[in-house]
């Protein structure tokens, strides 16, 4: 590993730190290299005495309070470094913020509405299936005393038929409810994972 490699690796290892911190550290070590070379050491000696770049970086990171430095950096960035990059960053942030934020908000509302619609469909279908099923059973049960009361076999068969039809409709709605339930879970989980990726 030569000096250039060492500095490159160190730069990479420091990525968790704010830019100003990385710049400071790299500057310091560049200067240190220069001073060592000036005092008759060679690159190889310097690097072996420094240790691996990841070890050097770990010590810098451990000693820095990343959060505290972050706040300071935004301030310093704004005050001292009105570079094109900073302007670009801030303009980009300003432009994208009013679009992205409402977009996200709308997406959340859509998601919320979909959940409510799915839920109400579920409840209504469930109610329809339950009520038709119950009335079907009731008519089936009622057909026997009804037939005895009216003394007519045809009436009993009519009642039995109606009861069976109602049972069928109830079963159908039960299946629809089940399908809606499964479908809504699938859709909402997909939408949710979509949000997750967006964040």
């Amino acid at each position: 590993m030569d000096r250039q490699n060492f500095m490159y690796e160190l730069n990479k290892e420091l990525y968790v730190l704010p830019r100003i911190e990385i710049k400071q550290a790299l500057q310091y070590y560049e200067e240190y290299f220069d001073d060592c070379l000036e005092n008759g050491k060679n690159e190889f000696e310097v690097i072996t005495s420094l240790g691996t770049p990841s070890n050097v970086a770990a010590q810098i990171i451990a000693a820095s309070n990343v959060k505290e430095v972050n706040r300071q950096q935004t301030f310093e960035d704004a005050q001292k470094q009105p570079t094109i990059k900073n302007y670009k960053r801030s303009i980009g942030a300003m432009i994208s913020a009013p679009i992205v934020l409402p977009l996200k908000f709308v997406l959340y509302i859509v998601w919320f509405v979909l959940i409510i619609v799915g839920f109400s469909l579920l409840v209504s279908f469930g109610a329809v299936s339950l009520s038709t099923f119950i009335s079907g059973v009731a008519i089936l049960i009622a057909s026997i005393p009804g037939a005895i009361f009216f003394g007519s076999l045809i009436f009993m068969i009519e009642l039995l038929g109606t009861g069976l039809v109602l049972l069928g409709v109830g079963l159908l709605f039960y299946l629809i409810t089940l399908g809606t339930f499964k479908g809504s879970i699938k859709i909402s989980s997909k939408l949710f994972s979509c949000f997750g990726r967006r964040k």
Binding site: Q27, Y28, E31, Y32, D35, G51, Q59, I60, Q72
Partner: protein, 100 residues
């Protein structure tokens, strides 16, 4: 020397070394090395921390066509050093006691 003890002393050593006169990184390391064994990778984080804490301040000076960063001690750095000296006096008493 014990690592914990060394860590505690290093801040004091650095402050004391800078108080003797403004100094740049490489020179400071040489000064510190005369009293305690320390690797270069431990010195920079200490310097940076002392700087962000306001105990040290820096300025740059031309040297051989490149910039050199000099460290100098601030008022609060001197106060801090005073505290360390007080603590070191206590430590000296302890050391005396141990050797009696």
């Amino acid at each position: 020397m014990d690592i914990q003890l060394k860590k505690g002393l290093l801040d004091a050593i650095v402050l004391a070394a800078v108080k003797k006169g403004d100094v740049y990184g490489y020179k400071l390391l040489q000064d510190v090395l005369t009293v305690i064994e320390v690797s270069e990778s431990t010195l920079y984080p200490i310097l940076r921390r002392l700087e962000t804490q306001g105990c040290l301040q820096t300025y740059q000076q031309q040297h051989d066509g490149r910039l050199r960063k000099y460290y100098s001690i601030t008022k609060s750095g001197e106060l801090k050093l005073k505290e360390y000296r007080q603590q070191c006096l206590e430590l000296a008493n302890i050391i005396n006691f141990i050797f009696q």
